[in-house]
């Protein structure tokens, strides 16, 4: 099984990367000495760190500002960036009504203080909730998804804490605000959930797991949610407020409809890609669609900004106020499709990549004892996989599974061997082979003896 020219390992000769494996090795013990290796490396890191601090000081000297004055109220109260999340939680606490229980009064400030404690309590008890052994994120994608959602939640809280600085930045030409405080409040809910789901999908793909079902589920959910919310925002609100529909069909609302339509069709395109296209064509279609959307919306936006300022204000107010629906959800559909679209192929690649070369498989492998070609290396299957071997010894594998039995990571090598052999055999069947001339079986009739070979 010629799988490619064997390559030398990149680090074969460097310190700590020997060519022998397992406990019977005869070369020197690996490892860096403290001096000079670690010391030199650490000195470099320390000098770079100190240099960065001096450069930052040179670029931005921390300002002192005015002295404290109890008689003057500061316009914008601002803690340092690492405490903004707590400040944001304090502001969102306005949602909870002040109450008094058993003589203890809970004000907005109380809720803020308690809310800031919640993340700390959660991370303190984390090791007792999430047990098991440590593993890379691709193998435990739920944990990673919750982590990313948590980080986005903290960032959302930090953004909300400076709402008084953000909201005035989003205004129409005449100064009317287009971003409401309520829209910013939804940052605490929508974006963390979406970011968590995207992480889950992306890491699931990284772990070579089946993707189709989760992709379909997420994209259909996003589309249904988008359709329901659009129906509510376009029709339901007007019905509730008792408006006449005919009067709503004006030019302003047509432009609003265009932008909303682009958002909706983005979700539809994403679902189409998931259902009908493979990985490469799907991703290409996705980029083409994004280019099309840009090519469509840029001139329209330019036209509205230049000639129809009033309509532009209406459109951007509508889209920005409902940005979690009309911006976040379509982007979510696109990103999920991009990360989640994968042509199903073998998961051996992922599993074999987990090997950390302990060498136990090499010790137990019976083939390495007799096959001259396989001596001196690691597991012959692994070496073929890593293209450090020409692949011929893999045909001598007995598939006895002795290697898998001792593998600390339960890598099933024999299944890989059988699959690869089957692939080659299948490929060979397609090649027309020159068949040998049929020789008649020797019988008494043609002068031979019955039973001749």
């Amino acid at each position: 099984m010629q799988q490619g020219r064997p390559e030398r390992g990149v680090r074969e000769e460097s310190i700590g990367f020997p060519t022998q494996y397992g406990p019977v090795r005869s070369d020197k013990k690996p490892g860096h000495a403290l001096m000079p290796h670690e010391v030199y490396r650490d000195v470099v890191i320390i000098l770079i760190m100190t240099g960065v601090m001096f450069i930052l000081t040179g670029i931005a000297v921390p300002e002192l500002g005015k002295s404290a004055n109890p008689n003057v109220v500061v316009e914008v109260e601002l803690p340092d960036w690492y405490l903004l999340w707590s400040w944001g939680l304090l502001k969102i606490s306005e949602l909870f009504p002040p109450i008094t229980i058993f003589g203890l009064s809970f004000s907005t400030l109380t809720y803020g203080a308690l809310l800031s404690g919640v993340p700390f309590i959660l991370i303190l008890i984390l090791p007792f909730i999430d047990k098991g052994s440590e593993s890379r994120p691709a193998k435990s994608n739920v944990r990673a998804a919750i982590g990313v959602a948590g980080i986005v939640w903290v960032v959302a809280a930090s953004i909300y804490s400076v709402n008084v600085l953000i909201i005035p930045r989003f205004t129409t030409a005449d100064g009317t605000s287009i971003l409401s405080d309520d829209t910013l409040k939804w940052l605490f809910v929508v974006e963390p959930v979406l970011a968590g789901l995207v992480t889950y999908v992306a890491l699931r793909r990284l772990a070579f797991k089946p993707m189709r079902r989760i992709n379909t589920l997420l994209n259909v959910s996003a589309l249904v949610l988008l359709l329901a919310l659009t129906a509510y925002l376009l029709i339901g609100v007007n019905l509730l407020e008792g408006r006449d529909f005919i009067s709503l069909l004006n030019r302003e609302n047509l432009f609003v409809g265009l932008f909303v339509g682009v958002a909706l069709s983005t979700a539809v395109v994403a679902l189409f890609i998931v259902y009908f296209l493979d990985e490469h064509r799907g991703r290409r279609t996705l980029f083409l669609w994004m280019a099309f959307v840009l090519a469509l919306l840029t001139p329209v936006t330019w036209y509205l900004m230049t000639f129809e300022q009033g309509i532009f204000d209406t459109v951007q107010t509508y889209i920005m106020t409902n940005s979690h629906v009309f911006i976040a959800l379509p982007i979510f559909s696109l990103v999920v499709t991009y990360f989640g679209q994968r042509t199903p192929y073998s998961d051996y690649e992922f599993k074999l990549n987990e090997c950390y070369q302990c060498g136990r498989c090499h010790i137990v492998c019976p083939i390495t004892k007799v096959e001259a070609d396989a001596l001196g290396g690691l597991n012959l299957v692994y070496n073929v996989y890593k293209r450090q071997h020409d692949g011929v010894p893999m045909w001598s594998c007995l598939t006895c599974d002795a290697c898998s039995a001792v593998c600390p990571l339960d890598i099933n090598y024999s299944a890989y061997v059988l699959t690869e052999r089957a692939k080659v055999m299948k490929a060979k069947q397609r090649i027309p082979v020159e068949r040998p001339t049929v020789v008649a079986r020797p019988t008494a009739a043609n002068g031979g003896m019955e039973g001749d070979p």
Binding site: Y21, T57, A60
Partner: protein
């Protein structure tokens, strides 16, 4: 063979100390303990398992170290700033009615009159930012690689407490210049503290030196910033890193 210069003097000095403080048996005893439990410098994952491939997460394994280096730089610059800083927050008004305080004036002195004073303060300021950013990212790395799991639960809890201490360092340091931003942050802090039922007032008394902001507040913050937090923090950091040394670095397989 040439004689070593100062050999005699060195021997005299050493003997003088050795007679009074016989450290040799103690050093020998500790060396035996050290060797008997086979401690060694922690080897990296690549060395331990003789890896050929360098895992792509490895650069993120230096974040705890970066935080520690920042802390050392913070200590050095903080000691220098401590020569000039005056922890006195009583607000006084000049003839024109402009407010000021001894703390604020000392900051102005550091920034304008002390040679390279603004550099010391600038490095202290940016090292603090890098310190907290490194601590946050270090925690994220530990979380995403699942390094808090058995047997490292205790070290994770220590780490979370150290994160709280870092935020405490940041907050107390933010208040020390006693400028307008510091005053507003202190106002929010004391209001949050007093709003907590039952223990709120006591917390405010301890942390802010009263139920309202005053001259005591800056002194409390100063003492927390330069004595209490470093004392507790350094102890916990030593414990944190010792446990890493004993248990080894957790790296996912």
């Amino acid at each position: 063979m040439a004689r070593k210069p100062f050999g005699g003097i060195r021997k005299v000095v050493f003997d003088w100390f050795a007679e009074r403080f016989p450290v040799t048996p103690w050093a020998e005893a500790s060396r035996k303990v050290f060797l008997s439990i086979h401690r060694q410098m922690p080897r990296s994952h690549a060395e331990k398992y003789e890896l050929k491939t360098i895992w792509y997460w490895y650069p993120l394994y230096c974040l705890g170290g970066l935080a520690f280096i920042s802390f050392i730089i913070l200590t050095i610059t903080g000691i220098v700033l401590g020569f000039y800083y005056v922890p006195e927050g009583t607000i006084t008004y000049d003839i024109e009615g402009n407010p000021g305080s001894a703390a604020y004036e000392s900051l102005v002195f550091i920034m304008e009159a002390v040679p390279l004073g603004f550099v010391w303060r600038g490095v202290h300021h940016w090292a603090a930012h890098i310190f907290i950013a490194a601590v946050f990212l270090h925690m994220a790395r530990v979380y995403f690689t699942g390094a808090y799991k058995k047997p490292r639960e205790l070290n994770w809890i220590l780490g979370v407490l150290l994160l709280l201490l870092s935020l405490g360092f940041g907050y107390t340091g933010y208040l020390l210049p006693w400028n307008a931003l510091a005053f507003s942050a202190a106002t929010i802090g004391i209001n949050m503290a007093t709003s907590i039922p039952i223990i709120g007032d006591a917390t405010a008394e301890i942390m802010f030196g009263g139920l309202a902001l005053g001259a005591n507040t800056v002194l409390r913050m100063y003492w927390l910033h330069i004595f209490i937090l470093p004392l507790v923090g350094i102890g916990m950091m030593i414990l944190h890193m010792s446990i890493v040394w004993i248990q080894g670095i957790a790296e996912p397989h």
